[in-house]
Symmetry: C2
């Protein structure tokens, strides 16, 4: 199948989907949208994805899927091998809860558009914006580290020795954290999992700097 | 099975899970955590759910599932009837993308802890906080209305004539929006879907004011 990923090199949600496509061994074309220039708000892109957010995955017949986590679940349902979620329902809930702890609790609050809004509404300067980012990253990475360090299901990756949905989200956030100076040393289990990810081409090839639109 | 829902009457994510349990016909006990008093940060609750967030669902054997969307997917996988997601993979992606447009793009940014942080970090007053809430609610409800008004799969509910994951998220957010004076009239399709939800006891019984801990 011919796939086109509408994305932006630095977008954390785009990193997740690129790594998922790579793990599934699916080839895809890329279209880039410069978020600071508002290219994701152009009429052409809104016609594709009314939500006006990247990433969006365009399938061969022109169907467009929005939202990174919905795309990843779709890929896992339609291309089950290798699986991105475990088989057992409780393990799946565990994997999803780790993923959402990043995708719902950290990333949305630290999104570019939110950080920009802090500047325009509250006059937040660069340091205050970075402090905001670090606060929410730290707020969630502490509990995530506790959970991962104590749960017997944790292996080289979040669940056992195979990368999946939770790793995709954790990895993308950890990479994003670097930009804002959030140290990973206080989270040794997370650091180890990120290293496991970085050992795989699927994750390395999804990194922002590896993309054609990286400045 | 004996289920205990750790939740708070006004929490939007708690509304979603209560309505999901009701739609599945599952009985559950409730424990309430007053968020403004920080009861979800108590050592007793953190021992149950290290993420320190409500809702969390405690199963009969003491297993605790965190994150509302992970809980709802778990319920749907273990108690498939009635289904909360459609059968077709693309329709499932559509349902999840609508759900995440609320659960990832609106709710986290308008969470109590985020609103409180605007006060403490940037001295935001009541009106500025309400303005922040309305901005993000409006930012996502516009595109959601466009999608729902134009997608042929939209019926009495987000996908056809059966309530599901997307409706749970949309309903909970619409109820939350009322508190901050976000009018629903500009979103006639969403308004109609919320009315479809309110016609069902499963949703009415999940409303904040119907809970034992409603002040």
């Amino acid at each position: 199948m011919s796939l086109t990923l509408h994305n932006f090199f630095r977008s954390s949600a785009s990193v997740r989907v690129r790594a998922a496509l790579n793990l599934k061994g699916l080839a895809y074309d890329q279209r880039s949208y410069m978020l600071r220039k508002g290219e994701h708000r152009s009429p052409a892109f809104l016609a594709l994805n009314p939500q006006g957010l990247v990433p969006a995955l365009e399938l061969a017949d022109g169907t467009v899927l929005a939202q990174s986590l919905a795309i990843i679940e779709y890929l896992d349902e339609t291309q089950p091998d290798p699986p991105l979620l475990p088989a057992d329902a409780r393990d799946r809930a565990h994997a999803r809860s780790l993923a959402y702890a990043v995708a719902c609790d950290v990333h949305p609050v630290n999104n570019l558009r939110v950080l920009q809004r802090l500047e325009t509404e509250f006059g937040a300067g660069e340091e205050a914006v970075a402090g905001w980012f670090r606060h929410w990253a730290t707020e969630s990475f502490g509990p995530l580290e506790t959970t991962l360090a104590t749960d017997p299901r944790t292996g080289a990756f979040c669940l056992g020795d195979r990368p999946g949905l939770a790793d995709l989200c954790l990895f993308a956030q950890a990479i994003n954290n670097r930009r804002f100076g959030v140290p990973i040393a206080p989270y040794p289990t997370i650091a180890r999992i990120v290293e496991s990810c970085l050992a795989l081409p699927a994750f390395r090839d999804a990194l922002p700097d590896a993309q054609p639109d990286a400045a």
